[in-house]
Assembly symmetry: C2
Homo-oligomer: 333 residues x 2
């Protein structure tokens, strides 16, 4: 088993060493987030659940791990002209905060449909907002333009070794906090989070199972796994605003080879899970953050190969940035 | 200073020994709750803040500490006929859950104006609900009647040594988690929580400051401190449904002698603090639970004697049981 993990670590965008380096680098800046549990939710799931609360991370999401690892990896010369990124929200705020801590400018390309609270986070942390259209093409070309004009370094939201290594530090913490977990459920979007989490977790325990949680209205990862190549969708339709991106060439190999399954849930299930996070767990979680709970409570999971062998399940509550108005509307109270 | 603490411990309803005993007794049943912090809130307060998240306690509030200590203190003979209490919510759910774990019946007298989610918690944990009018007189007489009919043991919500000792375990945890705190802000109602917290905290560090956080519309503790005797109010008017009770003869001496100050805030401030808990800290907190944050951000605190000397402040987020409908209405989004 160990040799398998070692082989794995040589072929992908990050490995246990780069992830441990990231942990040392970002340790002084990040929160070590707590793991919560609930007998009530355990009862509903029929499993022991361990919620890794990245919604309590700085900036309100796991994204600060990768962003701070990337930005504190830069040489002084590289960092001098600042950093640029495009993001619908949490990565943008994380880059703004990490850049502020490093004392360099952050240029943030934000699509017009980004949640208000996430844009406010960017501004709060001193990021300079540059608006773009909502398409990935417009986001990327706007970011390129800013990069050319300012000389800033691009910090990609997920398709970046340093980002993936930073996100992987979640597994180092989680498996120290709850060594007995046999399964981890991780939201999937561009794949930076799940790649880092998977590479670290399987290096520590090759037998651990990693399941991707994906909205049915943005099921490109599930389609990609089936097709054996990266599938991008012409459009997405989900309340989970953080889960609309497609896989990149650095994240796809990890998802293809090491992620055990992708489980799809509907927005209705996501909203119900989000509500349970508020009412039972007492944690404010955004739709993208609640999807892991939606999966573990779903019939889809019960019918999956992973169901029978999963008994102690880590669930990554990836973020907590949600406009209260949007939340309320979705609850329909 | 040490002798002062020792003298204290001989005169009050609980002491560091009964609190340590409680910790041993309830350790297998309770959550050790995490402490969260937020640079944003630190900036707003101008202080370092440490939020002790009792909203994540079993049953969604600190009350389970006292209730489980009381119920697991009973002899088998005492416990056999069950327990009875009257409570607007969190204590009721806590007693129901602790009784369920002990395998004995719980009879819960609930005033008609109790929040729906708290009553649901009682039912979820198997407590038998008996409705009463909203006055303390009706609550107490109904509980007496149940007690006579069933032979159940009364578990008072706060005026009980075992309850006070159980709540005091919060300080044992908090001061181990953040040894450098110099001030603790605690919501005050009947005084069980603040009595336990104060007795434990001052036994460990006699120089620590304990401030009571009280709604202006239920300011009986502030009035009592001024008058030098227990004052009860003919009626209360506050959104903080957990903070409407009056002090008891076991809690009053602690509040009188050892609580350094009572700081009053308006419901508007409580709601604003509750909103910040959701939006910044990502924690679902009920109005009574958010009052400590309201205090630390208030002009009243800035003008108090405690302000200058408080730099590292523990804030007890006492509970997270709030009806989403009530929450939403209060936010007025």
């Amino acid at each position: 088993m160990e040799s398998k993990a070692q082989v794995q670590s040589q072929n992908y965008a990050a490995d246990i060493e780069t992830i441990k380096e990231a942990q040392l680098r970002i340790g002084p800046y990040i929160h070590k987030t707590p793991v919560l549990s609930s007998t009530t939710l355990d009862g509903l799931a029929g499993k022991r659940l361990y919620f890794k609360c990245e919604c309590f991370q700085k900036g309100g999401a796991f994204k600060f791990r990768g962003a701070s690892n990337a930005i504190f990896s830069l040489t002084d010369e590289e960092a001098a002209k600042g950093v640029v990124t495009h993001s619908s929200g949490n990565h943008a705020a994380a880059v703004s905060l990490a850049a502020k801590l490093r004392g360099i400018p952050a240029y943030i390309v934000v699509p017009k449909n980004a949640p208000k609270c996430k844009v406010e986070n960017v501004k709060r942390y001193g990021g300079q907002v540059i608006w773009s259209e909502t398409t990935m093409l417009s986001r990327e070309s706007t970011a390129s333009k800013v990069q050319q004009e300012t000389g800033a370094v691009l910090i990609h939201p997920f398709n970046d070794t340093r980002i993936i290594s930073g996100q992987g530090t979640i597994s180092l913490e989680l498996m120290e906090q709850v060594p007995e977990i046999d399964t981890i459920i991780v939201p999937i979007s561009g794949g930076g989070l799940i790649s880092g989490v998977t590479l670290a977790a399987k290096a520590i325990n090759p037998a651990i199972r990693v399941l991707a949680a994906e909205p049915r209205g943005a099921d490109d990862a599930a389609q990609s796994k089936t097709a054996g190549r990266i599938i991008t969708l012409p459009q997405t339709n989900t309340i989970a605003d953080g889960l609309r991106a497609s896989l990149g060439d650095l994240t796809w190999p990890v998802v293809r080879d090491l992620v055990d399954d992708v489980i799809l849930v509907d927005d209705r299930q996501i909203v119900e899970a989000m509500r349970m996070c508020y009412e039972i767990l007492k944690v404010a979680v955004e739709p993208s953050g609640a999807i892991g709970l939606a999966v573990v409570l779903s019939d889809q999971f019960r019918k999956s190969d992973a169901w029978k062998d999963s008994s102690r399940i880590g669930i990554i509550l990836s973020g907590g940035n949600v406009d209260l108005g949007v939340l309320w509307e979705s609850f329909g109270v």
